[in-house]
């Protein structure tokens, strides 16, 4: 338990495409340890219809420079307002929130991201690499133009792509990729984040093939600290809060 509220200074705000932007944020005080798949709750000031904070996963952490990076999709008024923030502005975060992906046992791990779900996979790979594990990525996008930070991901492992229109990598979504469709899948553990239909299909595949699979969910949320009970996910143990019991769940626990 080391959650805190903190003002960060915006180091940069880079537009990556029409829908995505990348924020680098500098903390005044030393950052606490942040685990893969943990998230922050960002306060959005100056957007009249944005009352609550926005939960956003941690994309990258640099402990030497005391910075956190957020890869954000413009999904509505709140994130649109956030996309206009400038270098030097202050941004208030509640963090670090949620549980985390479990540690791998070996290198046979696959990190799967679909669309915005690629965001937590960069830090996850970096974190695992610090413990000597080298992951494989499978990242799914709409088309070649939508691909985010390919050079950065390539630093931490082999990257395979799917695009819906076939303009880069294999055609279709991540479930269609040959990595997941050979008779003998050589992964022992799959970590995934993305749209729920993708996670569900991937989870079913993993259960069928007897592969451990952990998914990071993004249910609608208010407080982020387990008080409001709004973000609940149905599990075999009843309703669980995605903000504190998750965002990571083993797919075997989920009722969906």
């Amino acid at each position: 338990m080391n959650k805190q509220t903190c003002d960060f200074e915006v180091v940069y705000n880079i537009s990556l495409s029409d829908d995505y932007f990348l924020l680098k944020l500098l903390a005044e005080d030393e950052l606490p340890n942040i685990s893969p798949a943990q998230f922050v709750e960002v306060r959005i000031d100056g957007a009249p219809n944005t009352f609550l904070r926005r939960p956003i996963s941690v994309h990258d952490v640099n402990y030497e420079k005391n910075t956190i990076s957020l890869l954000v999709r413009i999904a509505g008024e709140g994130t649109a307002k956030l996309s206009q923030i400038n270098k030097g502005d202050l941004l208030n975060l509640v963090f670090p929130l949620g549980n985390s992906f479990s540690m791998p046992d070996n290198d046979n791990i696959l990190l799967v991201g679909g669309g915005c779900g690629v965001a937590p996979m960069l830090y996850t790979a970096k974190y695992f690499m610090n413990f000597g594990f080298s992951p494989t990525f499978l990242l799914g996008y709409k088309d070649k133009e939508s691909i985010l930070r390919s050079d950065k991901f390539a630093k931490y492992g082999n990257v395979f792509y799917t695009t819906e229109d076939g303009s880069f990598g294999e055609t279709g979504n991540v479930l269609d990729h040959s990595l997941l469709n050979s008779d003998k899948i050589h992964f022992d553990k799959i970590y995934a984040c993305g749209p729920q239909p993708m996670l569900k299909a991937l989870g079913n595949l993993a259960i069928e093939k007897n592969i451990t699979c952990e998914v990071s969910l993004e249910n609608l949320m208010a407080c982020g600290i387990g008080a409001c009970l709004c973000c609940v996910q149905d599990t075999i143990d009843g309703h669980k809060c995605v903000c504190t019991d998750g965002p990571v769940f083993n797919v075997k626990k989920l009722v969906w």
């Binding site: 009352f51 609550l52 387990g226 973000c231 609940v232």
Partner: protein
């Protein structure tokens, strides 16, 4: 030094800042952000006789200056509260109220009887105003007769401070407040959430699984304030005011309207340390305007 102590009809509060049920968990969720002993008190999550899973997801919709929720009193039941949760919070140096809800009068009575046995729980907040459960809840708080019935029955078994939380979803909140006062309530808290609704225009579907839910946040403050003002004038027991309090100035407005103490609710979701900021802001206001005792402010609206 400003005196912030309140005598809340026999219950001593070190200051008038409490938290609203369902927005502060069991207090423990906020320990990283708030020194709980600084609070006048906190009101734990709505507790029922038996375990409740609550309503299906989605349970929340953001609205202009507020939010709708349809949690539906998810809790593990009073026995788990007494056995597992109470031992973790009983040492806290503040007033802990248990918010008690039920589907039948017998449920309320049985739950209140068990809470009555807990030494370090000096009060309950009787919730006759939850808009998010099909049976009971708000139904008890929307007619004088049913409000009287449940308060009378609980009063017979509950020997400590009995605060009754009123629903704003009524024609005349004053008559309900007077009805519960007549049955022996020690105080009233108001208001619970306003019944509301949100629709996704793109999908043409309701945003909540239950279609309707309870509206809270800044949006409801003017209505809550008006109701507190009306009720405070009409009853002799003290009033605990809540509804959209986000800042110290909001809290001061409730004191002026007649509230003896206030509850911070939805603000906790946005600023986990909102209670402390509001408490410090109240003290600052008092110093700035030469108020030596917070009690001077209560009901001192000038007109």
């Amino acid at each position: 030094m400003v005196n912030l102590n309140i005598d809340f009809n026999g219950l001593k509060l070190k200051n008038p800042v409490l938290t609203a049920s369902g927005t502060f968990g069991y207090g423990l969720e906020f320990e990283d952000f708030v020194d709980l002993s600084r609070l006048g008190g906190f009101i734990v999550k709505g507790t029922t006789l038996l375990h409740r899973e609550g309503n299906p997801y989605p349970r929340m919709a953001e609205t202009a200056a507020g939010m709708l929720n349809a949690v539906g009193l998810q809790n593990k039941g009073v026995k788990v509260f007494c056995d597992d949760i109470y031992p973790k919070i009983e040492h806290l140096n503040t007033n802990i109220f248990v918010n008690v809800s039920g589907s039948t009068v017998d449920d309320y009575v049985a739950t209140a009887e068990m809470i009555n046995e807990l030494t370090n729980i000096p009060a309950i907040e009787l919730n006759i105003s939850c808009p998010n459960v099909k049976e009971g809840g708000m139904a008890f708080g929307t007619s004088c007769a049913s409000a009287e019935e449940v308060v009378k029955a609980v009063r017979q078994v509950y020997k400590k401070h009995l605060m009754v939380k009123l629903s704003p979803n009524v024609t005349d909140i004053v008559s309900i407040a007077q009805a519960v006062e007549n049955q022996g309530a020690d105080s009233v808290s108001l208001v619970n959430t306003f019944l509301g609704m949100a629709i996704d225009a793109k999908t043409r579907k309701p945003k909540l699984s239950t279609i309707t839910g309870g509206l809270s946040g800044s949006a409801i403050k003017p209505i809550a304030l008006r109701m507190v003002w009306q009720v405070a004038k009409a009853v002799k027991i003290p009033v605990c005011g809540l509804g959209g309090i986000m800042t110290a100035e909001d809290a001061i407005e409730f004191f002026l309207a007649g509230a003896s103490c206030i509850q911070v609710g939805t603000a906790n979701f946005i600023e986990p340390d909102a209670t402390i900021k509001i408490l410090e802001g109240i003290e600052y206001y008092c110093k700035k305007y030469g108020v030596k005792d917070i009690n001077e402010l209560i009901g001192s609206l000038r007109s």
